[in-house]
């Protein structure tokens, strides 16, 4: 077990702001100073307003990668994953810190980088291979394999601009999949292609690590793919390392950190939303078990309202919405006699009903089945995570809901 990649205290910050006429003078000063080996005089100016003009994308990131392992890197958008990958693949340099690597590195941040539309599939295989760091001989040796893997052999001498987007992606991935670096850096390339091809890609990724003993750094939003492929996972948030550990534990941490976005609210009586008749004091989500809200578990909304008078025929109407506003369902409570004062209510969503995704809901208080008292919109916002431990398919599963139904087969 030897270390092949060692990331030591890597930080990266970006200078924000407009580039314009003022930068010319500054640049000349800075370049002249550095040429003479002196300290950059403009540097100090920027360090002063650190919070305003400097964006820190990575903050003191350190970890090691062991030979032959598949290391997953996960985190929300903006957590610093892409920046880290760009530094690891030498596309941009760190602001401070060091990265040491042993062996040939190839990175796959995009499928089909450098494909030229006017050139044929054959010519592009060689060009793309060379861009990714293969020599001509290596590509030539693997050529037949690449063509076969891509499944576009009939069109290999046609300019790629005439390819369908699917063919284009397949050819591009085929080239990338036949790279033979000791260290492979992959960014979410699995998000492309049809189901069949995705399966093929996943299989190839597994072969590369398990079968051929290569080290893979894999960045993805697809937690199921990460869980399935990786030996260890690094969780990034706001540019820092939160946790490094085994996949399921680290991914749970990721879910936990993200699921508490908006999942409980509490108001003081004077500024609570509502009207003269009814106000909402608090709302939260309670999980039936564990600490991750996923599709296999039931969960409960709890509400506390305050009523300023009695109602004879009171009921609730709850509307669930997807994050883009699509109406998922409506559910109504039975009518009951409500007393003035504090009023508690809860509503349980059963397990195996919802699809994974982001949701929000509104709850309406109604009198006599027809007179709305108040509609509380966008009460909570939460994410239901996926759970596919026993499945082979990691792509998106569509549909407003994803009920578990009684099948006879």
């Amino acid at each position: 077990m030897s270390i092949v990649v060692s990331v030591e205290h890597v930080s990266k910050s970006y200078k924000l702001g407009q580039i314009g006429a003022g930068t010319l003078n500054e640049d000349i000063q800075s370049f002249w100073a550095r040429l003479r080996g002196k300290e950059d005089p403009t540097k100090k100016i920027h360090d002063q307003h650190e919070d305003g003009s400097i964006h820190v994308a990575l903050r003191d990131v350190s970890f090691d990668v062991i030979e032959g392992e598949v290391l997953g890197i996960v985190g929300k958008n903006g957590a610093g994953k892409s920046t880290l990958l760009k530094i690891l693949s030498s596309i941009t340099s760190p602001t401070s810190g060091t990265i040491k690597m042993r062996g040939r590195v190839a990175s796959l941040l995009e499928v089909g980088t450098g494909f030229h539309p006017e050139l044929s599939g054959r010519e592009n295989i060689f060009l793309n291979g060379a861009i990714l760091g293969m020599t001509r001989n290596e590509v030539a040796r693997k050529f037949d394999e690449i063509v076969e893997f891509s499944g576009v052999s009939k069109f290999i001498d046609t300019p790629v601009k005439r390819y369908s987007s699917g063919m284009y992606v397949r050819l591009a991935f085929a080239v990338a999949a036949h790279l033979e670096p000791e260290i492979l850096i992959v960014d979410e390339v699995l998000a492309v292609g049809d189901a069949d091809f995705q399966k093929k890609c996943m299989g190839k990724m597994k072969d590369v690590s398990v079968g051929e003993g290569r080290t893979v750094l894999f960045v993805s939003h697809n937690m199921e793919a990460v869980k399935n492929l990786c030996n260890r996972v690094v969780l990034l948030d706001k540019g820092g390392v939160i946790e490094i550990g085994n996949p399921s534990a680290t991914i749970n941490t990721y879910f936990r950190r993200n699921s508490s976005l908006f999942s409980h609210i509490k108001y003081e009586a004077e500024n609570a939303p509502g009207n003269d008749l009814i106000k909402l004091l608090s709302a939260d989500i309670q999980l039936s078990e564990g600490d991750v809200l996923d599709i296999r578990h039931a969960f409960t909304f709890n509400f506390v309202f305050i009523l300023s008078q009695n109602f004879d025929e009171f009921n609730y109407s709850l509307n669930m919405y997807g994050v883009t506003g699509e109406h998922i369902f409506n559910s109504q409570s039975v009518s009951f006699k409500a007393q003035k004062g504090q009023l508690k209510a809860s509503c349980t969503i059963p397990a195996n009903l919802m699809n994974n995704g982001d949701y929000t809901f509104s709850i309406m208080a109604v009198n006599k089945n027809s007179i709305p008292l108040f509609n509380f919109t966008d009460v909570l916002r939460f994410e239901i995570f996926d759970d596919r431990q026993h499945e082979k398919w990691f792509g998106e599963i569509g549909g407003a809901v994803r009920p578990k139904l009684d099948w006879k087969v």
Binding site: S90, T92, S93, K100, S107, L127
Partner: protein
């Protein structure tokens, strides 16, 4: 003995990424490792331009012929002297060499902007792009040079090719270095100052009129000739004409000046380029 073993177990890092490297870093070995890529870039540059054209690579030859015709008319109208050389040869020789310089300059100056997409996604030595441009333009220079030959033969009794023909490789190298050097400086600056993209096309055109392409240096009043010679391309063009046609104005000093200028320029260009390469992904 133990220390020996420890030393063997210490991993040998093949790649170390650190924040700032010296501006003078120039990694020939890495560039050599990527030679296949350079060759493919050359092929791409050369082949892709003429895909879906009827005449294909013939355009390399047609372009200078058109330009020559324009100058012939211009020269006739304005009664411009040609140093006693047949005008066709005078213009064509100037155009061919100047074209090489100009295309090296304009095409390498677009390196960062033209390749921003690919540079942001994959690493390879960035110099591979401008170098491939220089070479693919060299191929088109040779094609155009071949075009000169029938004109030379046709006028064999009015020209005097001489021993200076041996300096031809030097001439080409110096012109290439100057085009590359200028191009690298400009390409590095375009990252921050896009204004240069517009200026460069204009600048190259202006530069041609400040270089003896459509007029001979000998017809410039002697007291202003030194001013013309400040332009490092001037004496190279004159030497090229002299070698080929037996007529041209240059001195050892003026040629040395051009050579030194091209070396320094290329050095500065690489310096700028290295600097730009490190930060451009964050800027573009």
């Amino acid at each position: 003995m133990a220390t020996m073993e420890e030393r063997y177990n210490e991993p040998v890092w093949t790649k170390i990424i650190t924040p700032s490297e010296s501006l003078f870093r120039f990694n020939f070995r890495e560039l050599w490792q990527y030679r296949d890529l350079i060759i493919l870039f050359i092929k791409r540059d050369f082949v892709s331009v003429y895909k879906q054209t009827v005449l294909g690579p013939l355009w390399h030859i047609i372009q200078p012929l058109f330009t020559m015709s324009v100058y012939l008319i211009l020269g006739r109208v304005a009664n411009l002297p040609t140093d006693g050389i047949p005008p066709t040869l005078f213009y064509l020789s100037g155009i061919v060499l100047w074209n090489y310089f100009a295309s090296c300059l304009t095409k390498t100056s677009g390196t960062f902007i033209g390749s921003a997409q690919i540079f942001g996604k994959v690493y390879f030595p960035r110099l591979a792009v401008p170098i491939s441009v220089i070479v693919s333009n060299l191929i088109s220079f040779f094609l155009q040079f071949v075009l000169l030959i029938p004109f030379l033969i046709h006028n064999y009794d009015r020209i005097h090719p001489n021993i200076y023909l041996l300096t031809l490789p030097l001439i080409i190298v110096v012109i290439a270095m100057m085009g590359l050097g200028f191009g690298l400086v400009v390409s590095s600056l375009t990252i921050r100052y896009r204004d240069l993209v517009f200026l460069i096309a204009f600048g190259v055109q202006l530069g041609m009129y400040l270089t003896p392409i459509i007029y001979p240096l000998s017809k410039i009043p002697v007291k202003y000739q030194w001013l013309m010679s400040l332009n490092p391309v001037t004496s190279i063009i004159e030497m090229f004409r002299y070698a080929l046609l037996g007529q041209g104005t240059f001195t050892l000093q003026s040629i040395s000046y051009s050579i030194v200028f091209s070396v320094v320029l290329l050095f500065v260009g690489v310096l700028f380029f290295n600097q730009a390469e490190r930060s451009f992904v964050d800027t573009v």
